[in-house]
Symmetry: C2
Subunit: 144 residues, 2 copies
Amino acid sequence: MSDITFRVKAHSENPTKTIAKARGFEAIIDEPGELNGTNDGPNPVEYTLIALSGCLNVMCHLVAKEMNFTLRGVKMNLSGVLDPDKHFGMKTAERAGYKRIEVEIIPDADADAATLEQWLKTIEERCPVSDNLNNPTPVLIKLK
Amino acid sequence: MSDITFRVKAHSENPTKTIAKARGFEAIIDEPGELNGTNDGPNPVEYTLIALSGCLNVMCHLVAKEMNFTLRGVKMNLSGVLDPDKHFGMKTAERAGYKRIEVEIIPDADADAATLEQWLKTIEERCPVSDNLNNPTPVLIKLK
């Protein structure tokens, strides 16, 4: 297949609240009160986990179909840990973003443990959002 | 400050549609019809751009305040290019995720060009979502 370009347009509604549009869909991003926000939606780093959960679900079903076993559904628990110091401009040796992301996948499937381990390995290799987190992805930002 | 843990719980509603919950908020992730989905929400890689837009907005305002100039708002155009072959299991040398992400920021600000260039540099250095994309972030996935 040829390359696909995905596009999002966004604008600030206030210093922490953003309205983002992807095709006909709108998403609201905000910060909770503890992070000085107006708490009208998940915050940016929560959306990173949301993106990952959606991508893993697609991969779970695609790979189960290829491997020829029945997958009725998946549940996922995702978490990420970060130190907000760099974000807030404090002197720190820590990075700005998540230090690590952990995901538990609970499949409802007709497959043995070895099959599920192979399934998980394939999912990890081919999941676009996992790839963009695990490996460097150039982000080119310019003013217009 | 000490580390903060962010959590999302998610489940599949069908092979392409995921319902994700972050605190009291719900997000719907799906694939468009062209990617074999039921088109009920932005897709996973669009959510990556949504996360980035929200994080950049917060950084834009935080850094403008530190630099002492008036920022009335920002508009952003985000795009990412990927080759879906690896995702679909085809033989390819390409990566699974975005090869690169491009962002245009249009500020409505009282600041000269040199100030805005310094502003952008600081935003890039301290934005958590940019960091998680630009630099490797371990994603640890296990079955439960």
